[in-house]
């Protein structure tokens, strides 16, 4: 017990009246070490809850039993015999007895462990596949092995949010009070305690620095692009960039009239799904059981996106009649295309004259017998459901490589006739060629072909160059982009000369093209629409094909062509909704639901837990947010009932503008078009911009793994406050700006600048955070071939962060680091020296007690 503590207690007794005993009790409690230990244990428990999944915590009793079983076996087989032996051998010499018992104990313990390993452990060990063995709460553990408390829907906190939550704040507040009170009432202010005082000072500095630090802390990253390739093939310096994105402050980005605006999204979930069916009506994919909304636990979401007009400056804003709310959230999902049924009557008033997008559903029936079963009656049982969008060339077919179904409305008569043409047995591909003649008739020829086939029709000579199952180049015709079809490439030699190649698509004869021998300035052949003086149709009979068509004016009745692999063909007319027709023996197609109109709708497809990358969990990085866009009467305010609203799911976009495929457009009824993105809040660097002038990845010898990444960056001053400079940012060697230690300044000026910049929240540090690995790999190959002088990257990503007050914190840490060893190792030496001195003085009779010690002499007595 320290003398100061004795004095403090005496002061309490002398100055706090009996009626104020609660004050005294609290004062004593906050002076105690016991309370400090209890509060520290509270912090430990809090940390356990914050970081360890509950499934792992639930494993503790099981492992305790495992451990106890081992201890039990060793205890019974080794410790007990040794104990008995020690009693039996009491008369033996000590050394002999010790050696005997020690070696016996060691041997018996080894045997006990071996017995436990072969006899007990196999029975206890839990086998996840069979469920055998011992694991208490196995189901709970499996279900919650990745669930920490903070991820529960009622919390939805990442680690720092959980640590910043009020329960820990309360514990820490109490602890600090305990600390201060105990320090003041127990610690002497004297030389031996200078270590403690250093630590105190350090703590105060850290506390002050932390508060300052946290007030203005900003953290994010910036994408710097390289410039266009120069004459040597290497990129030129990239454009200056001022905009950086905050790491974890999500935002809704809205583009209107070419300008982007951002709205912060506060309170967004992180770990759980909410209202996964938001915005979706009757789903085409769900109708055929190809999509499920997933399990959102019935949780709903409604986060109002604030009308943060301050963020819109100087652009002016996006209009008060627009309202945005987040009404759904998928924590880890991939966007998936779907079509949602829409009543056309609800649309025509908004968009008169729009083209409908009908949907046709059909089912595949099988009357084949299963293993050991009787074949079902009639056409059999449905084995698959499919749908087509007859108006959309990309979605009007279903093709699995074995057979294809194409559903059209109003197929042109010429194509119907081509497809219905019987071919010689064994034919896999054929061309149907028609050449209009001068007398108004046409020369027509149906020719089975293979690559290299040549034949003549109406004076035209044709040679088949290729029959490709998929287009050699993606189709880019508007409305057909990326559609799939087999294609015949036919070299056409007209009687009048001027040869060309015609690309004839099996499924899209309407977009056949001629590639001429003349080339454009890039050396590519000129293209034109197919010359109408010769019509070429392509029949792909290499697999079973079913063509269903609703002729114009048929009132919904359909007809079908069933074309077997190898040429045989059958036509079925007059198919009513609900009717079926056989495509091969005991396999039929039945026509089912019809939707008059459907609209494309992108929705989240939730990624299973086991396939999620841990680094992205809880970061929004793989999340999708459902945003409801509403039109409201601007005079009535943002809370008024909407006149129109629509929900759109937005995938997360890390760098706005760099990932246009993750932005989504929405057309308002009044003709305005918005582009939306779910991403991160951006800020501008204060008074300067960065430009990438060069990048190098330094590999280990022999092109091993990367050893360093070096971005040469130019810091361009925008306001004249400093001189622009260049710096190479490497791993562990960040760029500092606007102030950077410079050889051109004196040491003192640099040091002063460094200290001042340490307090300045507008001073930033830029660390190497990402790079264009794929670009580097590709250009390395080009460099190996001598096409470019060296490999290069087309972008780099730098981490951005300010550290206001960090020097204060660092100095506090330094004081703590030196204060602890003083307290542990120096103070005892000083105390011992003092004791020796006092003993010497006592022996000499020259000792005098310090004043306060004399005062306390009576108390201690």
């Amino acid at each position: 017990m320290s003398a100061k503590w004795v004095r403090s207690k005496k002061w309490d007794d002398d100055h706090i009246p009996g009626a104020l005993w609660p004050v005294k009790a609290v004062l004593r409690a906050f002076s105690s070490i016991t309370l400090a230990v209890i509060l520290l244990l509270g912090v430990v428990l809090y940390a356990i809850l914050a970081s360890v999944p509950v499934g792992l915590l639930a494993l503790a009793p099981t492992y305790l039993i495992y451990g106890m079983s081992l201890v039990g076996v060793v205890g019974v087989m080794a410790a007990l015999p040794v104990w008995l032996g020690s009693r039996a051998l009491r008369g033996w010499p000590r050394g002999t007895r010790f050696v005997g018992l020690f070696l016996a104990g060691l041997g018996l313990a080894g045997v006990a462990v071996w017995i436990w390993t072969v006899a007990v452990w196999p029975a206890l060990r839990f086998d996840a596949a069979t469920g055998s063995g011992l694991r208490l709460f196995a189901g709970f553990i499996e279900a919650n092995k990745a669930l920490t408390i903070r991820r529960l829907p009622i919390l939805e906190m990442n680690e720092l949010e959980f640590y910043a939550w009020w329960p820990l704040r309360v514990i820490l507040l109490l602890f600090i009070m305990n600390l201060i009170v105990a320090t003041v009432r127990r610690i002497e202010f004297a030389l031996p305690y200078i270590g403690v005082l250093s630590v105190h000072t350090g703590i105060v500095l850290i506390a002050v620095g932390s508060i300052y630090y946290s007030r203005d802390k900003v953290e994010g990253d910036i994408l710097l692009m390289a410039g266009a390739p120069g004459p040597d093939g290497l990129p030129t310096p990239g454009p200056p960039e001022r905009r950086f994105f905050d790491h974890f402050r999500p935002a809704l980005h809205i583009q209107i009239d070419g300008l982007w605006f951002q709205r912060p999204l506060a309170g967004l979930p992180r770990y759980n799904d909410y209202n996964l069916s938001a915005g979706g009506g009757q789903s085409a994919r769900e109708t055929i059981n190809a999509w499920s909304a997933g399990d959102d636990g019935g949780r709903t979401l409604d986060i109002a996106v604030p009308d943060s007009r301050a963020l819109d400056a100087p652009a002016g804003g996006i209009g008060r009649d627009l309202r945005f709310r987040v009404v759904g959230y998928a924590a880890y999902a991939e966007p998936e295309d779907d079509w949602v049924r829409v009543d056309p009557a609800t649309l025509t008033s908004v968009r008169p004259g729009m083209r409908l997008n009908p949907v046709r559903f059909y089912e595949l029936y099988s009357a084949l017998a299963g293993e050991g079963q009787q074949p079902p009656d009639g056409i059999g049982k449905p084995v698959a459901r499919l749908f087509s969008l007859p108006s959309d060339p990309r979605a009007r077919t279903a093709d699995n490589g074995v057979f294809g179904v194409e559903y059209t409305i109003g197929m042109p008569a010429a194509r119907w006739a081509d497809l219905g043409t019987e071919l010689p047995e064994g034919t896999m591909h054929a061309l149907v060629v028609e050449v209009p003649l001068a007398d108004g008739t046409a020369a027509r020829r149906v020719e089975p072909v293979t690559p290299g086939s040549e034949f003549e029709v109406g004076g035209y000579r044709l040679r088949v160059e290729d029959l490709a199952p998929t287009p050699p180049f993606p189709i880019i015709t508007e409305g057909y982009r990326d559609a799939q079809s087999s294609v015949a490439i036919v070299h056409v030699m007209p009687p009048a000369g001027g040869t060309y190649s015609r690309w004839v698509y099996h499924r899209f004869p309407e977009i056949s093209q001629d590639l001429l021998e003349e080339t454009n300035e890039r050396g590519m052949p000129l293209r034109r629409d197919a010359d109408p003086s010769i019509r070429i149709g392509f029949i792909d009979a290499s697999q079973l094909q079913v063509f269903i068509d609703e002729p114009a004016g048929s009132g919904g009745d359909a007809r079908a062509i069933i074309r077997q692999r190898g040429g045989a063909v059958r036509v079925v007319e007059g198919l009513k909704p609900g009717s079926a027709f056989e495509i091969v023996s005991k396999v039929s197609i039945g026509l089912s639901d019809r939707w008059e109109h459907a609209e494309a709708f992108e929705r989240p497809s939730v990624v299973p837990e086991s396939q999620r990358e841990k680094d992205f969990v809880g970061t929004h990085g793989r999340a999708m947010a459902a945003v409801e866009v509403s039109l409201v009467d601007s005079a009535s305010g943002q809370d008024a009932a909407p006149m129109w609203s629509r929900v759109i799911w937005l995938p997360f976009s890390k760098f706005l503008g760099a990932e246009p495929d993750r932005e989504r457009r929405i057309d308002l009824p009044d003709g305005r078009r918005l582009t939306l993105a779910f991403g991160r809040q951006w800020s501008l660097l204060p008074g300067f911009a960065l430009a990438l002038t060069d990048f190098e990845m330094v590999a280990y010898d022999h092109r091993g793994s990367p050893r360093d990444y070096q971005s040469r960056v130019r810091v361009e001053c925008m306001d004249g406050s400093f001189e622009s400079f260049e710096h190479i940012t490497k791993l562990n060697n960040p760029l500092r700006a606007p102030f950077m230690w410079s050889e051109s300044r004196g040491w003192l000026a640099n040091a002063a600048g460094r200290v001042a910049s340490g307090l300045n929240p507008r001073q930033f540090k830029f660390s190497q955070a990402g790079w264009d690995a794929e670009g580097w790999r590709q250009t390395q190959e080009l460099a190996d071939q001598g096409i470019v002088p060296r490999p290069f990257a087309s972008f780099t990503i730098l981490g951005v962060g300010n550290n206001p007050g960090i020097h204060i914190i660092a100095f506090g840490g330094f004081l703590m680091s030196v204060g602890i060893p003083w307290a542990f190792y120096v103070k005892p030496l000083i105390v011992q020296a003092r004791k020796r001195r006092i003993q010497r003085q006592l022996a000499e009779g020259t000792y005098r007690k310090p004043g306060h010690a004399r005062e306390l002499a009576g108390v201690e007595a």
């Binding site: 940390a47 127990r186 953290e219 990444y709 791993l731 703590m816």
Partner: protein
């Protein structure tokens, strides 16, 4: 007033900083993780076998031939001389290593143990089923070459290890449906044949991929199968002209090398051991002469010595001997036993230090940058500190503590699946920071001290409770009372306990300080490199929790407890297990930024 009061304050403000921080998590910068291992090297086109085409015809050989082939293989392996090849350099997984190392790594990956063993059936019995009887183990380099030259031999032999028991059962149930006896025999072997993997792997993977535990097991299996099928791709043995360029595959070497490799393959297939030895010697002469300025020289010899010495495994056995001997010395006080124990301890330290130093030189870095390396480093430091205390205080029990730490840590590092046993390139973020090396080293030193304190505390507890069992009051403060009970011995016991208590406190205080400094150094580096000095990453959090445990330990000393030594010893045990969780559990089970730790 306690001298440890500052500890509370330090903890307070390290923790309270969390309360004033905005809620922002931290992201890992580029180069923060160890480079991904690439067991099969990439190639820029199809590669021909430098040893000639493998003979797959033997797959269809009659069963009666199997025993004869096995006998021939054993005889051939015994007579062939592969020593000239063992030290040849090869570029693999981003590092120039020697063939012996690559062979050891490859075989360990495929077979799940250090070498491949053929099961030798009793005379007259078939070996189509594994019979637990005689086993014949092969040199890993022999097996690796044999897998490339005569892969058919292994196609229907238990080659590929499957550690995950349910998956092994799935294969055996598919291979031997309804034959429980055969399944049990194969189950005990722990390996399956490549044919089984190829026949049933696809369907089992499709069926089980999503079940708990299968994902990792199937990935390992695929890796082993790749190595069996594609090890040839790893023969990048022709040095380039410049260190920036990659090494070239053996099949693309100069004519003389190609001929020697082809001769080796032909002689191998013919069972001509002398021919193989001649070709191997020729290769060993030719390859180092190609671009000799880039071809490594002395480092190859050191790596070979490192492989052969197996210093860490010998080290733990000698530590064990030292532990036992010094404990006996503690009990008997015989000088010759003490001398023997100390001798064993220093021999173990020598082996340990050799292994660690050699690894540093081979890896061309301070080898503490994965879990295996950090374990060997921290245990070496702890053992040296323990030995120093032993010599300083002439208390041999501290030598036993040092040996105990060395034994426990090395046996864990070498005999369990601790990641990082192969020497690999370090994460770029580690390579470029001196500050980070100080941080990691300081924290590892503290872990070593915690381990030493733990063993010392175990000795305290053992001494305390064994005395209690014998009815002797054993607390360090009860010297006077103990003196009345038994002549001579209790005073010694009390002195021993007092010494142990002083030792455990000395070690734990030092651990407490170094861990604190290590954490602060980490915070400094994190601010420099990650942009935030404290982010409550799980590793940071648990390092702080570990530190708080020792903070409590040192404060309980002044809390008016009756038996401070006993409480300290128990807290030291608890703290050790918390440290283990921080060291292993956090890395393996909790995602965080300390991917390399």
């Amino acid at each position: 007033m306690s001298s440890t009061k500052p500890g509370i304050l330090v903890a307070a403000f390290l923790i309270i900083s969390a309360a004033v921080f905005p809620a922002i998590a931290q992201t890992a910068p580029e180069g923060n993780a160890h480079p991904e291992s690439q067991m099969v090297s990439e190639s820029d086109g199809p590669l021909a076998s430098p040893f000639g085409e493998a003979d797959w015809g033997s797959l269809s050989a009659p069963e009666s031939e199997r025993a004869a082939r096995l006998a021939r293989k054993i005889e051939f392996s015994a007579t062939v001389d592969l020593e000239p090849l063992r030290g040849l350099a090869v570029l693999h997984d981003g590092r120039v290593k020697i063939l012996d190392t690559l062979a050891r790594e490859t075989i360990a990956q495929i077979v799940g143990r250090k070498n491949y063993q053929d099961l030798v059936p009793p005379a007259g019995a078939s070996d189509t089923d594994p019979v637990i009887g005689d086993k014949h183990g092969y040199d890993p380099l022999f097996t690796w070459l044999d897998l490339m030259i005569d892969p058919a031999y292994y196609a229907d032999r238990p080659l590929i290890a499957i550690g995950f028991l349910p998956l092994r059962r799935n294969f055996l149930e598919a291979a031997f449906p309804g034959d429980q006896a055969r399944q049990d025999r194969w189950l005990r072997v722990g390996r399956v044949t490549p044919i089984m993997v190829q026949q049933f792997g696809g369907s089992i993977a499709a069926e089980r991929d999503m079940q708990p535990g299968y994902d990792g097991a199937l990935r390992e299996l695929q890796g082993a199968l790749n190595l069996w099928e594609m090890s040839l791709a790893n023969l990048n043995m022709i040095a380039p002209a410049a260190s920036d360029d990659p090494w070239t595959h053996l099949s693309r070497g100069p004519e003389s090398v190609s001929r020697a490799a082809a001769d080796l393959g032909a002689a191998w297939r013919a069972g001509d051991a002398a021919g193989v030895s001649r070709a191997a010697a020729l290769l060993a002469a030719e390859l180092p002469a190609i671009n000799a300025s880039v071809y490594p020289e002395s480092r190859r010899s050191l790596e070979l010595a490192y492989n052969r010495a197996n210093a860490f495994e010998w080290g733990f056995w000698v530590y064990f001997l030292a532990l036992v001997t010094l404990l006996i010395a503690f009990g008997t006080r015989r000088k010759w036993v003490i001398g023997l124990g100390v001798g064993f301890l220093f021999l173990a330290l020598g082996l340990h230090a050799f292994g660690f130093t050699a690894r540093c030189i081979i890896a061309e870095r301070f080898a503490i940058q994965n879990q295996f390396e950090s374990m060997t480093g921290l245990s070496l430091f702890a053992a040296i500190v323990g030995a120093a205390i032993m010599l300083g205080r002439r208390q041999w029990l501290f030598g036993a503590a040092a040996a105990g730490v060395g034994f426990l840590v090395l046996v864990t590092a070498t005999q369990t699946a601790i990641p990082g046993q192969s020497i690999e390139r370090e994460a770029a973020i580690l390579n470029t920071s001196v500050l980070l090396k100080y941080h990691v080293t300081t924290v590892l030193v503290s872990y070593g001290l915690i381990s030493l304190g733990f063993i010392t505390s175990l000795f305290y507890l053992g001494t305390h409770y064994s005395a209690r069992l014998r009815g002797v009051p054993a607390d360090a403060g009860g010297v006077a009372q103990a003196a009345l009970n038994e002549d001579g011995w209790p005073q010694g016991l009390a002195r021993t306990l007092a010494d142990l208590d002083t030792a455990q406190m000395t070690v734990l205080q030092l651990a407490f300080w170094t861990l604190g400094v290590g954490i602060l150094l980490g915070a400094w580096w994190a601010d420099h490199s990650w942009g935030r000095w404290w982010a409550f990453d799980p590793k940071e959090t648990w390092a702080l929790v570990t530190w708080i445990i020792y903070l409590i330990v040192v404060h309980l000393r002044v809390a008016g407890l009756r038996d401070k030594g006993l409480v300290t010893a128990w807290m030291s045990v608890i703290g050790f297990f918390v440290m283990l969780w921080t060291y292993f559990g956090v890395n393996l089970l909790l995602p965080g930024l300390h991917a390399y730790a």
